[in-house]
């Protein structure tokens, strides 16, 4: 890219973006002081490295760089929003470890490195002293996804004799069995039905903000875009609609399931799951509109759901861990700004005009209806139900008679307010000027589409 000769090479920047968070995580195991500052600084270094990587990459090859930058920003935001109660060195260390591992998976061009990133990103959620949930299902699903991916990559190497993704492109190494194992890895990691229950369990019985980061790495969708579509274009053409169908069924299933759920954390997990499944359906649509919509929606879901989980956690530390949506809590009277942030993030998730998700949903619906008219109709239905659910959750948490019996409760503190405002600005400005994001994702979508349809002429 012209004018970017001064930027160091990609391996150096990748190394900085991945290595610095891990170094900081190691530092926090030794020294427990100033955990938030250490976490913020490490993630800001990653943000800078990610930004330089994005700047130096050509427009149609910048998907993973953009995702890296997004995840770095998300982590920086998370370390700022994390309530003091949760801001222990172990928690920050775990978040930084997750950041490094996720970036490793994003930046990899090699199967072994990708596998390492995939497995390492699950480690904090498998270890008792970090973020392991009290329910058994999250750990089990993550283990199964790790095993499935490891098995698939073993099989691919056995038949393809290479670990480089470029060298294996279009060769369908390992055949249907490897393809099936990769799909299984996606199903377990993304929580596609029938393996969806772990996501709600993790959100409810684990720490909410780190769990949101784990879910919003979207490594399952990354596996589809990075490995399945390029490596198995023909097999994907024949069998992949099954995954699309499962994704849409998941979107509908969890949207219906959420209608009677009263645990706010589980509700948010269901919403995340439903909208994430739409990303998968868009990727599978193998149309430019659908893939572009999926990539843009990836950004929207990531920012919005992390914001929602963050706000919920802030409410929990203020008003009690046992918040429930079974009655009206009237928290808007105490925390009006948190209420507005929650409403904007929530509505941004379900396609409010003027937010980025309006564009992503428009493209997703168009793309999925174009490729699969029957399953495509499920997408607006799922989104409509999700909209009702998010409004119900907002109403139950924030509206109703103002609760009494508290001493003064602070609304969003400055560090929380400005971090959440940055997220809101992203989804709103992105919605007002979507072409800045859509055009770039469209160029990347062409590459994904070309990888998925090698016989099709270039658009």
């Amino acid at each position: 890219v012209a004018g970017t000769a001064w930027i160091p090479g990609a391996p150096i920047l990748d190394g900085i973006a991945i290595g610095v968070p891990w170094l900081a995580a190691a530092l926090l195991t030794v020294s427990h002081r100033h955990a938030r500052i250490v976490g913020l600084m490490a993630s800001l270094v990653s943000v800078a490295a990610g930004a330089l990587l994005l700047l130096a990459s050509p427009p149609d090859e910048s998907l993973y760089q953009a995702l890296m930058l997004l995840f770095c920003c998300l982590t920086a935001g998370a370390t700022l929003v994390l309530p003091k109660r949760d801001c222990e060195s172990r928690a920050i260390g775990g978040i930084l470890f997750l950041l490094g591992a996720t970036l490793l998976a994003y930046s990899s061009g090699d199967l072994i490195v990708f596998l390492a990133g995939w497995i390492l990103s699950t480690v904090p959620f498998l270890v008792e002293s970090w973020f392991r949930a009290r329910s058994w299902r999250p750990a089990m699903s993550l283990w199964l996804s790790n095993l499935a991916l490891a098995g698939a990559i073993g099989l691919i190497y056995e038949t393809g004799h290479a670990f480089s993704i470029d060298a294996l492109r279009g060769r369908s190494p390992g055949g249907t069995v490897a393809f099936g194992l990769l799909v299984l890895a996606v199903i377990f990691r993304k929580g596609i039905s029938p393996a969806h229950a772990w996501v709600a369990d993790a959100a409810e019985t684990g720490p909410s903000i780190p769990t949101a980061l784990l879910l919003n790495g979207h490594l399952g969708a990354l596996l589809v875009a990075k490995l399945i579509l390029p490596l198995f274009p023909r097999t994907a053409g024949n069998l992949f609609p099954l995954l699309s169908w499962l994704a849409m069924a998941t979107a509908i299933y969890v949207a219906v399931r959420a209608l009677t759920e009263n645990s706010p954390r589980r509700l948010l997990a269901f919403l995340t799951l439903s909208q994430s499944a739409c990303i998968l359906a868009g990727l599978e649509s193998r149309t430019s509109e659908g893939i572009t919509g999926a990539l843009v929606h990836w950004f929207v879901v990531t920012v919005s759901t992390t914001g929602l989980f963050g706000i919920l956690r802030l409410l929990e530390v203020r008003f009690g861990e046992t918040l429930t949506a079974s009655g009206y809590l009237g928290l808007a009277g105490h925390a009006p700004r948190l209420a507005v942030f929650f409403a904007v993030f929530g509505l941004a998730l379900v396609g409010l005009p003027g937010t980025l998700s309006f564009c992503s949903q428009d493209l997703l619906i168009h793309g999925t209806l174009l490729s699969h008219p029957v399953t495509g109709v499920m997408l607006p239905i799922a989104t409509a139900m999700n909209a009702v659910t998010i409004f119900r959750l907002f109403a139950r948490l924030f509206l109703g008679r103002r609760r009494t019996g508290f001493t003064h409760m602070a609304d969003a503190l400055p560090r929380e307010r400005w971090t959440l405002a940055a997220g809101v600005l992203f989804v709103v400005l992105g919605g007002l000027f979507p072409n800045l994001i859509v055009a770039q994702r469209s160029a990347e979508a062409d590459r994904v589409e070309a990888a998925a349809n090698p016989a099709a002429p270039a658009p």
């Binding site: 309530p83 003091k84 109660r85 775990g94 970090w130 973020f131 392991r132 009290r134 329910s135 058994w136 299902r137 969806h196 709600a200 369990d201 019985t205 720490p207 903000i209 219906v256 399931r257 959420a258 209608l259 009677t260 759920e261 430019s288 929990e316 203020r318 008003f319 861990e321 046992t322 009237g330 808007a332 700004r337 507005v340 509505l347 396609g351 409010l352 005009p353 003027g354 309006f358 564009c359 493209l363 209806l369 174009l370 607006p380 239905i381 409509a384 909209a387 009702v388 119900r392 109403a395 509206l399 109703g400 503190l413 307010r417 979507p434 072409n435 859509v438 055009a439 469209s442 979508a445």
Partner: protein
Amino acid sequence: MTPGVIFCLLALTWLMGLTPSERVVSRITGLTFTACLLALLPLLSALAADGGPPVVVTFGNWFSVHDYRFPLVLMADRLSLPFLTMTLVLSGLIGQFSATYLHRESGFFRFFALLHLFSFGSLLAFAAGSFDLLIGGWELVGITSVLLIAFFDQRPAPVENGLRVFAVYRSCDIGLLVAVFAMHNWTGHASFAGAMPKLAGAQATAVCLFLLLAAAGKAAQIPFSGWLPRAMEGPTPSSAIFYGAISIHAGAYLLLRIQPLLAESWMASICVIAIGAATAVYGTIAGRASADAKTSLAFASLTQVGVVFVEIGFGLRWVAVAHILGHALVRTLQFLRAPSMLHDYHRMHSAIGGEISPTGRHLEDLIPERMRLWLYRWALDRGHLDTILDRWFIYPLLQLSRLFSRLDNIGRFARAERQAEPPVSMRRPAGQGVE
């Protein structure tokens, strides 16, 4: 754009911790709508004088992916201009009325911010030159409508009713989304700034029926009429502008916009007439058993909008437009006078020296007494529409959700019972406030 910009400025001001005084907010509102109305005058005079061609302003594509484009096209023609003018006039009037009516109300600022957002949404929907853009305005009208129904959020009823209305809106909007997709797929565009997408036969019928679903939801036509009385929980000025004037007629506007397509499909036209006629009959019967002023007015609105649908179905385009304008203005006045309705009646009774005889009594007398009693019960339960919707749609959906919940919970707590120590973020007792 101006109301949208004002909404953004008000929201930003509030986020920065500043809340403008009531006087400032009402002055800004008055100025905004006056300026917008003045800006509309040249267009009005140009189009009204010689009935010239529509004025189309293109801002390029909002976003595009290869052949799929989301055009930013605004259009003023002889159909949209009356609606634009009505929106600006009534929004300005409601703003002035509310400055007094909501004086010292805790939600004063919120009401005005939402009024601006609603006006922006309505103007966008009526000035849109494509169905894509119309969806944007349409959705904004819906969400502001719901937020204003839940305006008095200290009571559960307005919030519950807002949620119900939101569910109906979003369900019916699926029709709009699918119709727009079908237009793109079959004709390559969904713009009507040049000419309507050319469709005929089954395709025209399918698109019209999907759009009718959206229009019926927004206009509270049968079988979605149950939400309208619930929407009366909002403050009177918002009821006036939404359900007496603008939002309730948005569905009719959509049908007027697709009139050329409706003309291609006799089946869709018959559906429009049937739904409109059924709603008109339902509205007049249910309205007669309503005990409160706003609900009676809501049913009266419903009746008139039903008649408008019938007119549209018969292709009487300009009759429908005139009907909408007249109805919107009169109904807004009635809604705004609703809080002092008893006082008005007492004055009228004093003036005429007795009570006004209720209208339609001679028609009631034609019906056998048993039938009248049955109709009375039917009207009291508002045509059982909500009951049917609850029993045949919502209740089974919730049952299904509970079934899914039971399935999900199988084995859920197996490990939780064995483990005593909570994870990192949950190791302090609850409810001790911010640290």
